[in-house]
Subunit: 315 residues, 2 copies
């Protein structure tokens, strides 16, 4: 059984034909060219779907689309996606079904990464787990009884906007002091730059003093691995913030397997070890059992896989 997975980004439109058991057959990427407007983007998606249909050895079951913005409870409509000018409320599933003849469902990226992980990735062994995506922003997806926990309107799992310090810094969310304001790529980089500026003797200062905007989390990871204690401390501090957020998710949901994916997650032990330690220091005793942080083994393809799973399991 095959489905077509689409991952709509502001920059690129990724697509793949996905087999129920074998996963991605082949993956493609094309510029979204969002400034061409809504109709052009809808046509591009439809054209991409048709290309994938031609590759399929049998008629695909349907289409799953990972879309930015708010997704309706019936997974048919997307509202106010950022970085897509001219989109307001779009009945995207219907538009694509009309253009391709295949049924279609939508979901947000972090939820699709959770679904992809549940069937093909590090989440596969667990009936319940929480996916945290550490990228430009911090996203979340909750797998409960093997399916997505969606809440009252389909918007559950906005885990980057869970507050750990109500007096804390702002991210681009209204949730001041949310964990994204510490671990979102840009925010982590900016906090790191502020810290490094206090240490003009540090090697990171020397490297970035002319352009602190170029500093990325990966630079901190490499420096930490080379023994730079300041980098270790900065990543460790970020990890602790993640740990406090995990306490909040776990005390609320009683789901104790945490799968972490995304760019910042590549900092691995420098972030995840302090996160684990901080979480254990604040979790109530009975929640310590079975608590585990697991790095996602899949890469960027997890959302595409999840898009395929969405279509295969929900259409």
């Amino acid at each position: 059984m095959y489905a077509i997975g689409i991952d709509m980004g502001g920059t690129n439109l990724k697509s793949a034909l996905i087999h129920k058991h074998n996963g991605i057959i082949q993956q493609y990427s094309t510029p979204t060219n969002a400034e061409a407007g809504l109709e052009a983007t809808l046509d591009l998606i439809a054209r991409t779907v048709k290309e994938r249909m031609e590759e399929s050895p049998e008629k695909p079951f349907g289409i799953g689309i990972g879309a930015p913005g708010m997704i309706s409870l019936d997974r048919k409509t997307v509202s106010n996606p950022p970085n897509l000018p001219g989109w307001d409320v779009v009945h995207l599933a219907e538009e694509i079904q009309q253009r391709t003849g295949l049924p279609c469902l939508l979901e947000n990226d972090a939820n699709l990464m959770a679904l992809g992980s549940a069937r093909f990735g590090s989440g596969a062994p667990y009936k319940h787990f929480i996916m945290i995506t550490l990228g430009t922003g911090v996203g979340g997806g909750i797998i409960y009884n093997n399916v997505l926990f969606r809440g009252a309107t389909g918007s559950a799992g906005e885990l980057g906007h869970v507050i750990i310090d109500y007096n804390g810094p702002s991210s681009n969310s209204s949730a001041k002091g949310g964990v994204e304001a510490y671990l979102g790529q840009r925010f982590l980089s900016r906090r790191a730059a502020d810290e490094i500026k206090k240490h003009p003797d540090n090697e990171l200062y020397t490297r970035f003093r002319d352009n602190f905007d170029a500093l990325e989390p990966v630079d901190l990871t490499l420096a930490a691995e080379a023994g730079n204690q300041l980098a270790v401390d900065i990543l460790s501090d970020a990890g602790r913030m993640l740990g406090y957020a995990l306490v909040n998710y776990i005390h609320t949901l009683d789901i104790r397997k945490i799968v972490v994916s995304g760019g910042v997650a590549k900092s691995g032990k420098w972030i995840l070890d302090p996160a684990r330690e901080a979480a254990l220091s604040r979790l109530m005793g009975p929640f310590h059992a079975d608590f585990e942080i697991i790095p996602e083994k899949l890469g960027n393809e997890s959302a595409l896989l999840g898009a395929g799973v969405l279509a295969l399991e929900n259409l």
Copy 2:
């Protein structure tokens, strides 16, 4: 259809015969006398159940017990309840069934209050809602699709231990800066006393200066209603902390109806209005729709009602 509800406290054992539609027929309370030990308490529960059985016009369907401590996923076993010396891991449901001949299930108090509210209280109109109990501690229960959301092991909804300031004060939980450390009765009273001590000209100082331990949240409420601005500010501050915690629950669960019960909740608008305002200031835009804080109309009987519902719906 009838069931027997039991609410086990460290001090009193409450019980009632409960009708599926009409609720509590009659309610009783007897000292738990916990220091007499496990066997004596089991016998007391069994004796109480038999008394309620005799009042019932037909054979009761079963027994629901609200118990302190951790409840197992199958709702049969309780572990390490506080204030019950000699209890370690007790197969309470089985012990009571053997002594009475009726099947039995356990659940924690806050979850039962949520269930009671869902069928007989202010939660009844909602398919999904979050129950917050503001009492000695701060508890929570999550109703999702009309039933309790229980998580991986049955311990979901420890909402008092959700952190709003990782540098914040401690309650008796390991979750430093959890919302209970601001709103639990004792913690709220202590924080209020600290504040009042800074204002020796205030009427509350004059009243409590010889015994600040006697200060209770209700004193703040009465003072606020009499126009004492310091009391208004203290309750408002506590309300804001609740509001930040609500943001965390709502961003995680996408459940936007919040039912508040318990002693501290009696402070009404002095706490709940600032909570609403603080939550709206931090909730992401799409979560504002349908967000509502609703005071529970049931009193102490909500847990007993929930115990009856537990038995009637899950046995």
